[in-house]
Symmetry: D2
Subunit: 254 residues, 4 copies
């Protein structure tokens, strides 16, 4: 029986500013990636979000990003590898304290935004992240892009477990990379299409690329977005479809 | 044989900005209070500072402050108690990760600047800090002002160990509070005077107040400043004097 | 014919985070208070907001606050008066540049949140703000609480024009101060009640206090909130009611 | 009689952290580039620094950078061009307010650190900066690297005056670019060598590159560093040498 994890980015408010439909998403996913204060999230948001994740029975992960509240961690920053390593260690460590205070622990780490994208292309960045994760705990699972090599290789070199992530609602180029969000149609807004892509990835390990060809896409976890009501509807459709075809939806450490 | 801990605030640089004579101070003290990124310190500074503390054989403590880089944590901020609790938990958690990565652990927590002073006067603030510390680890020792009650009482109410802090280089009012830095003579700049006050506190549990009377001042730890070369000379004189009269200078957990 | 200004706080998003119904509010008010980047707002938000205000034909004001993104400027910070003065000058100056770039100018300054409340009670804070405003431009109008003296007095001492602000949707104590938001009923959520209070203030210079007595409340401007759809409905009701009874709704400099 | 401006980056402290020998440098240069709060500087530092520059009779310039206190503006950030434009407008506007308050005005704008370097290579960044400067004031002079084209071209396209900057204490590659700081010998630490290079640039418009050949380097202003006592000695030597050979050392607008 095929199985897959569903993850979502949560806890992305800051101070007086809210973001995302965390409660709805946490009812749909099996893993939560919690922002750690550098690109979003603050100690109050983190405490509440970890509490929500625990009550929802969802596996807890850290979602460290660049120190860039202004840019929401989406702007590539050429930070020194040693600084990336230490920023990751700091952020994961802070979340681990909230996890312990809630009687649980951090199971995985998924870099956020530009840091994730830089690591998907640049092995120096990937290795810096992996060193930070390994220093925070060798049992932690690194979540990274399924379709490129740097994060997978960096995790393997360090002896960390790697979980490959795919996207139900994003189109893939023939090379396995994500089609740029700037191109029309790159984000699937139709829940039926997103659900179909999720099922194909989970059951066949394949996806239909922009040129119509099928490509291999082995994924351990699917990312569900929830930044608007339509996105939550998408996420719900994905979960229902996966369960309908007999895919076991369960957390990575399950 | 009387004994006392000597502590210093270290790791108070940020990014390109340096502060303090950490290396010199770490050679003189038995406990280090490491800034955690909110009022000073950043992940790179913390990593280096924890490494220095470990190599110096000094006990490691967290030095959490208000989220106020601009004010160096010295400006009283009326934060909600829940936010203070979570800010403390976050900062201690981040430092605990660096401690684990260096093969050591955080032994104590001493609030910084305005947070320390607010807690010395306001039991609501003291309790919020103590809750954050307790959530980070019930084995942690809370360091607070020897001469007022709120922090001591808050720690006792929560079941945390409390360590009373006194100052070798500050004058005390007859009520046991610190004379304001704005008054002339409130800071002892003469190493001989500072050393004499340290010895009197450590051996007699007493200090001579501004009105000339002796008052009781039971302290577990003395704070040594190192923000300028004269301060380091003061610190060195204190240490030498304590050892010369047979006081055992050792960390709190010793 | 009585007249009054209607003002609203706008431009309170930051980076990826949105806040407030700016477009709806700018269609209802005659003055806009634009956040300047310290408690909310960033250069991109400011540029867009100034553009919206210009297109809406609304008078432009600066809304400086404490440097406290995390607390949205709502946490009292005991900053040095010189720092408050310079923070105000900096923030007003930044907004003035956007105003000039849009072919307009900043007409008034209304402190935000805790800074406003501290200035309404503490003449030292009020004077610091006024010095900052005066250094930014002696033609600027200072907007402050109608019902206490510190800001009015500070403006007069410096020779700045003062505009007294009242609230259509907040209850007043018999002493003329605002009833705490923590007390039930302190915020008027019924548009009819808010409109009635606005009309009474604008036409009679009086308001009914919490104890049922009428008190004097001379106001030059009324603040309209827009942090939720109900608040915008309130604001619209206030404007319609004022115009229905023949109050001229126009900007301070009109 | 040849002439040249000498400029220095000043006001690079932040809060409790100091940096640089501003007073010494301001006695040697004819133009000051003042940090504006994004990578360094805060309103208090800016106010003091503008006051120092005015008293020293030095021309005042803005030194805007990326919003990156942590990285001191030295880390390349891929910000959207619109955001760069607005960040520059905001920072220059804030400094203009301090300038007016001190009875002077901002004469030039020199981007800082990574923003300067990105603009020296990438015309999109250069144009974004120039738009921000032009919106802040069409009379402002843009200071940029003498030896590459993007900033010069961007300024010309917008109709802004451009001032070409060279470095007395950095080695140049044969292509006219700066030798990387990571290569040994790239920074001239010998005051005699730095002074000789300054004289050659100012009097001949030429410099000897790393391969020994002379290349053309037309410069309107020379940057003097002051981050350590040796750097100040270098700066003093440069000034003395220029004056000794009859170069008129004067501000850009002189």
């Amino acid at each position: 029986m095929p199985r897959i994890d569903l993850n979502a980015d949560v806890g992305e408010g800051f101070g007086a500013w809210a973001m995302g439909a965390d409660a709805e998403l946490l009812a749909l996913v099996t893993s939560a990636n919690v922002a750690c204060g550098f690109h979003a999230g603050d100690p109050a948001v983190m405490d509440r979000t970890v509490g929500l994740a625990v009550r929802a029975g969802v596996a807890l992960g850290a979602h460290p990003g660049h120190a860039d509240l202004r840019g929401f961690g989406r702007r590539p920053i050429q930070a020194a590898p040693e600084d990336i390593e230490r920023d990751v260690l700091y952020q994961v460590g802070a979340l681990q304290a909230f996890a312990r205070a809630h009687g649980t622990r951090v199971l995985h780490v998924k870099p956020h935004g530009a840091l994730y994208n830089q690591a998907a292309e640049d092995e120096t960045v990937a290795r810096a992240i992996v060193r930070g994760v390994a220093r925070a705990g060798r049992e932690l699972i690194l979540v990274g892009l399924a379709s490129t090599e740097p994060m997978r290789r960096a995790a393997q070199a360090e002896g960390l477990r790697f979980a490959a992530e795919a996207f139900a609602d994003r189109r893939y180029n023939a090379a396995g990379t994500l089609q740029s969000r700037r191109e029309p149609g790159s984000v699937l807004t139709d829940p039926v299409q997103a659900a179909a892509q999720a099922v194909k990835i989970a059951t066949e390990g394949r996806v239909i690329a922009t040129d119509g060809r099928e490509i291999t896409l082995q994924a351990d976890t699917l990312c569900l977005h929830g930044d608007n009501p339509a996105a939550v509807a998408n996420a719900a459709a994905v979960r229902r479809a996966l369960e309908a075809v007999g895919v076991a939806v369960q957390a990575l450490a399950g």
